[in-house]
Every structure is written in structure tokens, then in C-alpha cells.
Symmetry: C2
Subunit: 119 residues, 2 copies
């Protein structure tokens, strides 16, 4: 995954795409019209821009994402971790715990994840 920098509008658009894909481009334009208030060219411009970035493809008037929601989440998490916590997950959690307590079931879930990661 190369350098990936998504802007706000791009994220909003991708959320819509992920919820519906694969979807026809004109259908997408209609949905964006309704939910984001975008005119047709705005949607098509967005499609082309993201296609140029290889984040989706538009073939035979059908749009499909080439990146998954999970991929993007991971990528953004990594970025935050690198930028703010030198890439350290414990540092992230530590900073986090100073601002908010976790609920018992969250703690349990974390423990289980860590046990699994140890194997």
C-alpha cells in the first residue's frame, strides 16, 4: 500500500460505496445527490480521482472498491500510531487510559485478544 492520504470528502464517498458496492456509477451519482447533495459531475470526478489512486475501479459503468474498509482503518491507525506514539501500541493504550476508563467487558475482550496474539 503506497502513500495514502484521504481527504474528508473522499472518506465520506467511500463509506457510501462500501455500503452498496458493486454499484452502477449513475446509481452512485443518485445516492450522492441524496445523501451528500452532490451534483452528477462531482460524483464522477470523485470516481475518477479515486480510480487514479487505484482505490476503486469503474468498469462497464460499475464501480467497485479496490480497498476494503478494514484496510483503510488499519492504514489510518498505523498512521496515527506512527505520528503520535512512535508506533507503539502500549503507548497508545497508556495515553488513552489516562483519559477514559474501560468497561469490564472491554478489558476482558482486550485480554482475550492479547492471549490469542501470544500464540
Amino acid at each position: 500500500m503506497d502513500k495514502l492520504e484521504l481527504f474528508d470528502a473522499e472518506k465520506r464517498f467511500l463509506e457510501i460505496l462500501w455500503a452498496r458496492e458493486p454499484v452502477k456509477s449513475t446509481e452512485l451519482a443518485r445516492i450522492c445527490q441524496e445523501t451528500l447533495g452532490w451534483k452528477k459531475p462531482t460524483t464522477f470526478n470523485m470516481i475518477r480521482k479515486l480510480a487514479d489512486k487505484h482505490l476503486l475501479k469503474n468498469e462497464n459503468a460499475t464501480v467497485t472498491a479496490l480497498i476494503s474498509r478494514g484496510d483503510l482503518q488499519r492504514q489510518e491507525s498505523e498512521a496515527l500510531l506512527q505520528q503520535s506514539f512512535q508506533g507503539s501500541v502500549p503507548a497508545f493504550l497508556a495515553a488513552f487510559l489516562e483519559g477514559r476508563r474501560l468497561k469490564p467487558d472491554e478489558l476482558e475482550a482486550l485480554k482475550r485478544l492479547i492471549e490469542e496474539a501470544e500464540s
Copy 2:
């Protein structure tokens, strides 16, 4: 903490401030000149903008941050968690583990943090 949206240049600047504060405004201008290549007005404009946002104060030509590095980190972490993981720390960790394995000492550190959080 109200709505907080920091731009890239603002973060870069704050990193410098945190490393040196409290510091005289002209000194800051000199450092930004060296490290960021900024001219004097750029630095002063930044100071004023962040002062307007109550993120720092400039009194008697001495600049002091009103927000700590940790506060900003926590705030950004929260934002990412809310936006991408419905605020769930376990969901964050789970997504993260799919992309990268943690080192043994990181796992140990996490365990200790969780134990402390349980008390």
C-alpha cells in the same frame, strides 16, 4: 475540550513549541525559520491563530502552550476511535492485529496496563 481540528502546519508548530516552552516569541520565530523554513510573519500568524483557539498564550513576548502533547494525543486517538471503530478500543486492537504482530515485550506491556486498569 471543544471541537478541535488541527491542521498539519499547526501540529508541526506545536511539536516545536512543546519541545521548548516557555519560549520567547522571537526565539520561536528563529527556530521555525531554521527547522521549518518559515519567515517571521508566518510564525507570528501561527502564534496568533493558535492563541485565538486558546491552544497557547503569548504574554510579555513569551509563548506557553495551553494544551499538552498528551491532551492532543488523547483527543486525536478518541477521534480516530470514534470515527473508525465506534469508540471501541478492542475493535481498534483487533483491526490492528490483523495487519501487524506485536513483539513479546509489547504484549507484556499491554498485559500490565490492563491489569492496572482493572484495579
